[in-house]
């Protein structure tokens, strides 16, 4: 009877313990390697995992370059914190890239995490890890080779570009020097002279001649006649005095001319009359008499002739030109006389 009660008691205690809720340790630390065997100089990851209460302060090891004299830290990755689902608290993971250049068995000692909570300062340790660093096998039966030279890295554009640009610049300089020397040898100017712009009065007189030939007002196109006449005059003023005339009204043009280099008051009055009269035809349906149409064209001719720009030729330039002309005449005469001599001597 007593033994039955005792047995029942044991079973009760056992079952009670078995169904008690599991309460894990609040601090757990773990260290893990990718592999426990590497070739010398190879790099592997070391993972440190720490589970802790959320509010606790725990210090991670502050490895800078080495864990042990044999194991080097290549890189330390940022920490990753995860909230635990089943248990209370958080899990902090940190990854390190490590390597070793000493062959043989290497021991990574326990990592100590120092923490502080209500009960005071304590620490939690990871299990020590062992790592075997294999060396390269040497074939002692074969020949002995010399030390291999460094491998050549492929060339990049950043390296090539300065050389290419330099070569182009050098080529440009060489071309420029040859160009300058050739031009000098041929006694030619360095830059080809630009074709001179047509003088304003040449353009205006040509267009006025065309307008005369087109006989617009004679064919009952008076408005078109005066439109073209004013366009020619406005373009002439633009070319002659650099005044924006095409986008300005008659009065604005006249006002601008008064502030320009034009100082011929008679010509100014001639132009003002002409433009204002043309405005009447263009905008007020005025039909002028034939003699007025002819007079308007004549006024335009007179204005252009009066105000045309004739550049003054300097004395030196004139002399130079005369000299050139003289040389050309002499050469022609020389050639003619040579040909005459050849004919006299019967040379073919």
């Amino acid at each position: 009877m007593y033994s039955k009660v005792l047995k029942a008691g044991f079973v009760f205690v056992f079952l009670s313990l078995a169904f008690l809720p599991l309460r894990g340790q609040p601090y757990q630390a773990e260290a893990r390697l990718d592999s426990n065997r590497i070739r010398i100089g190879d790099q592997i990851h070391l993972y440190l995992t720490l589970s802790q209460p959320e509010t606790a302060r725990v210090e991670f090891p502050g490895w800078q370059q080495r864990i042990t004299p044999e194991v080097e830290v290549v890189k330390s990755f940022p920490r990753d914190t995860v909230r635990n689902n089943q248990r209370e608290g958080i899990t902090i993971r940190q990854k390190y890239l490590i390597t070793s250049f000493d062959s043989g068995a290497v021991k990574i000692p326990s990592v100590s995490f120092l923490y502080k909570d209500r009960q005071g300062v304590d620490s939690v340790l990871t299990a020590p890890l062992s790592l075997y660093v294999e060396t390269v096998r040497v074939d002692t039966t074969g020949n002995i080779f010399g030390i291999k030279g460094p491998f050549g890295a492929p060339l990049s554009w950043a390296e090539l570009l300065p050389w290419i640009l330099g070569a182009l610049a050098l080529g440009g300089i060489v071309w420029a020097v040859i160009y300058v020397l050739r031009r000098r040898k041929r006694k030619e100017p360095l830059l080809k002279p630009r074709k001179p712009q047509e003088p304003a009065h040449v353009y205006a007189l040509r267009e006025l001649d065309r307008l005369k030939v087109d006989r617009l007002w004679q064919n009952d196109q008076v408005k078109a006649y005066y439109t073209r006449l004013t366009e020619i005059l406005r373009t002439y003023l633009w070319m002659r005095y650099s005044i924006k005339t095409l986008e300005r009204t008659t009065e604005e043009i006249l006002s601008s001319l008064q502030n320009s280099e034009m100082d011929d008051q008679a010509a100014y009055s001639l132009l003002a009359d002409n433009l204002r009269f043309a405005d009447l035809v263009k905008f007020a349906r005025m039909k002028p008499a034939p003699q007025e149409n002819e007079a308007a064209l004549q006024q335009a001719y007179d204005f252009v002739h009066t105000t045309k720009y004739i550049p003054e030729v300097k004395e030196e330039e004139q002399q130079e030109q005369e000299q050139k002309e003289g040389n050309a005449t002499e050469q022609e005469e020389g050639q003619e006389s040579t040909q005459d001599n050849k004919r006299d001597h019967g040379t073919p």
């Binding site: 439109t227 986008e247 009204t249 263009k282 349906r285």
Partner: protein, 331 residues
Amino acid sequence: MDQTVNVKELNEHIRNESSFVDMINMEMNKVIVGQKHLVESLLVGLLSDGHILLEGVPGLAKTLAISTLSGIVDTRFNRIQFTPDLLPADLLGTMIYSQQKEEFMVKKGPIFTNFVLADEINRSPAKVQSALLEAMQERQITIGEETFKLDQPFLVLATQNPIEQEGTYPLPEAQVDRFMLKVVIDYPQLEEEKLIVRQNLAREFPTANQVVQPDDILRARGIVKEVYIDEKIEKYILDIVFATRYPDQYGLDHFGGMINYGGSPRASINLALASKAYAFIKRRGYVIPEDVRAVCHDVLRHRIGLSYEAEAENITSEDIITEILNTIEVP
């Protein structure tokens, strides 16, 4: 040759009929010193039956100019100070119950006049602005079941202050488009201001005489519509308005992203009408490009919607209009 005679006749007719313009100018100059552009714009609005929005800082004689003009033309004039609590009924009028007659009677508001000065129009909310603008457009007012035609000439001159924006209700684009002209008034010149000071310190402030009858204005409006506008000028006007809508087609590509919307067809109509009125003031029976350019800024400045990009680069509608006028070829 008949057409020639017509224009000559029209010129002569205009010279005779526009003699009152000089009288108005003379009387206005008695009271208003300087502000030639303001006086000209008032005349353009008066002759082309268009309303005017005046913008300028306080103290530039906006109200004085309008009240003087109404005194010269022998018309009735009411000034309405727009405030945030103003109601449409305060402006148009309302129905009131007469105990004596035992019926509702119409009490007409201050808008029933010839010249209305809507002072600081942007101080009142949109419903009051709309009530005024409806009267401007339709020239009639409906109170209750009765519709009243407004007396002619009917001219609204609204003012707004460009420097105070707090507590204001800016006029919407659709409503501001109904003003024919937006005139920006600037400070007077030094010599002009000297005269203004002297005038105000004198024992008696000058007053303008009544020299024009409303009928003269109505007759002149008919003649303004007869002023000849050539096809070339019409094309010039359309080119200007179209350049505000499609600047890239006129070599103004740099304004492409700066204009949200350009001038409406109402802008083209008003530009043509204002040019005719300006030609009339200058005693001409035909429009020339100068007339278009003279009124172009006033007609278009409130009809161009600028983008944020333009505002960021401090580009105003004035700059755009000036650039357009400097780009489009004058016929």
